[in-house]
């Protein structure tokens, strides 16, 4: 059963791994993916992440349930932050556990591909005052949609 959090607070990746494996001797592989805010060559002041409360959690849980149906997972944890995120800060964490690494890697990859396209979050770039351009809402990339084809 997956655990999902949508929060403005930061998280501790090591603590999340420890919580998933505590008291267990059957886990053979833990994979984590961390999504960080990059500064786009020093032009970004912050990413502002808006979300649909309630639906964001529900959609991530639904994607986790799909991953659990596809691979033999022993744990599945997703944390997605919202609000103003500064360059270098964490945005999203995916942790998957399985007896073997192939399932854990594949499930984490699948989760990130589907989170990007189906979880109701929207990013806006807030540019530094001395940077050209005025930022604005981030557009989805064609490659994000193409990534989903790998799983169909």
């Amino acid at each position: 059963m997956a655990t999902v959090s949508v929060q403005d607070a930061d998280y501790d990746t090591a603590a999340e791994i420890a919580a998933m494996t505590a008291g267990r001797t059957d886990v053979g592989a833990v994979v984590t993916f961390s999504g960080l805010c990059r500064d786009d060559g020093g032009t970004l002041d912050a990413l502002e992440i808006e979300h649909y409360p309630g639906m964001a959690e529900d959609e991530i849980l639904r994607v986790c349930a799909e991953a659990e149906a596809r691979w033999p997972l022993q744990g599945c944890r997703v944390i997605h932050r919202h609000g103003a995120i500064r360059p270098g800060d964490n945005i999203v964490l995916v942790v998957t556990a399985s007896a073997h690494r192939v399932a854990a890697f594949a499930a984490a990859d699948f989760l990130m591909d589907y989170l990007k396209s189906e979880a109701p979050f929207w990013k806006r770039n807030r540019r530094r005052a001395d940077a050209p351009g005025d930022g604005g809402w981030v557009s989805p990339k064609a490659s994000d949609e193409a990534a989903l084809d790998r799983w169909r």
């Binding site: 649909y52 309630g54 529900d58 945005i91 990007k116 189906e118 109701p120 979050f121 929207w122």
Partner: protein
């Protein structure tokens, strides 16, 4: 029925949520967007390319040809950019 707007859909309309009472004959989400677009310049701007707008009924993704009868909450938003 409560309507929620997110990201640039919210910004173009100028409000985050409102109560909607569409007339009889407005049955699907596509109908609802066409009806909303005729309410004013701000709505027309938000729904100028309805094919790019994503829709949800009671917090579940729904296609534009879905009827909304019985739903308590409808949401309109741009393609998602999480992760």
């Amino acid at each position: 029925m409560k309507a929620l707007y997110f990201a640039w859909v919210r910004e173009r309309i100028g409000i985050a949520e409102e109560e909607l009472s569409p007339p009889a004959g407005v049955a699907t989400l596509a109908d609802l967007m066409a009806w909303l677009a005729a309410r004013g310049e701000n709505y027309a701007h938000a729904f100028e390319n309805p094919q790019v707008i994503r829709t949800a009924l009671d917090r579940v993704h729904a296609k534009h040809d879905a009827p909304f009868a019985g739903a308590r909450e409808v949401a309109f938003f741009p393609p998602m950019t999480g992760g």
